[in-house]
């Protein structure tokens, strides 16, 4: 447990460093859903930065991931449905865990506090419902 907490804190520091540098140097909010949706459709100015960011994201994850650990993914039909809901939800809410729960809260945005409270509560409730219904 303590081992996991230390890793989470260390990972959080790296994530904060990433969001901080992207703001201080590039003057941009590091929201994954925002960067992703900017690449769907006609590419805006600075799309190359988003592409470079995602390239780094994939390499960074690959370098530090535990190779012995395989991912436990839910079955594909549920994966598809969940992905659809996540895409719709973050587009409507204009942000996800990174944009609202990290960057938004770090700059004291009321909108982000509301968004974070609602998606955390809704996710926790969903996990309970899935257990009750028996997946």
């Amino acid at each position: 447990m303590w081992h996991d907490i230390v890793l989470a804190l260390a990972g959080g520091c790296l994530i904060g460093l990433a969001a901080g540098l992207f703001y201080l140097v590039n003057g941009r909010i590091l929201g994954i859903s925002g960067l992703a949706q900017s690449l769907l459709g006609r590419w805006p100015a600075r799309a190359s930065e988003s592409v470079l960011f995602f390239a780094g994201l994939l390499v960074g994850a690959l370098v530090l991931a535990d190779p012995a650990r395989s991912l436990a993914l839910v079955p594909t039909p549920r994966l598809l449905f969940a992905g659809l809901l996540v895409g719709i939800g973050v587009r409507l809410a204009n942000g996800c865990t990174s944009g609202h729960a990290v960057c938004g809260l770090a700059r004291g945005a009321r909108r982000s506090l509301a968004a974070t409270a609602f998606f955390m509560a809704s996710a926790a409730l969903t996990v309970i419902l899935v257990k009750v219904i028996g997946s």
Binding site: L7, A10, G12, C13, F22, I32, E49, G89, T116, T126
Partner: protein
């Protein structure tokens, strides 16, 4: 400089997701499962990331302009509307069903190709909202 920072931010972000365990949907579901065998460790990610980010935001605001010379983002809007809340609830349901939010889902493409259906469906969801945004209640 901007391009280098974009790559470095990606590397740091991906490394942070992998190191913390955010890339593992089972661990995320354990964090969300507050009535079961709750695993609160992932709370450490926000506990560290928010103050770290806030430090840079403070430095940026004091400077007034980004280091590359481009303007800093406008202060956030204060409007809390049905679109924000409804969207957050829908996002939370998807997050709770699969244990994946956008960042880890994309990072997982590098670790396990089986996550691809989620990422494709997520892109479809985003495009779908854009396509029907003419409906007044959603826009």
């Amino acid at each position: 400089m901007r391009s280098v920072v974009a790559v470095v931010a990606g590397l740091l972000f991906g490394a942070g997701l992998a190191l913390s365990g955010m890339v593992d949907p089972a661990k995320v579901l354990g964090f969300l499962d507050i009535t079961g065998a709750w695993d609160p460790s992932l709370g450490g990610v926000m506990a560290a990331a928010i103050p770290m980010t806030a430090l840079f935001y403070y430095l940026g605001r004091r400077r007034g302009v980004s280091l590359s010379g481009s303007p800093l983002p406008e202060p956030p809007s204060k409007v809390i509307d049905a679109r924000l809340i409804g969207g957050s609830i829908i996002f939370g349901i998807g997050w709770g069903l699969a244990g994946l939010c956008p960042g880890p889902a994309i990072a997982d493409l590098a670790l396990d190709g089986r996550v691809l259906p989620f990422v494709v469906a997520m892109a479809v969801g985003m495009i779908l909202v854009k396509a029907i945004r003419r409906i007044p209640i959603i826009h």
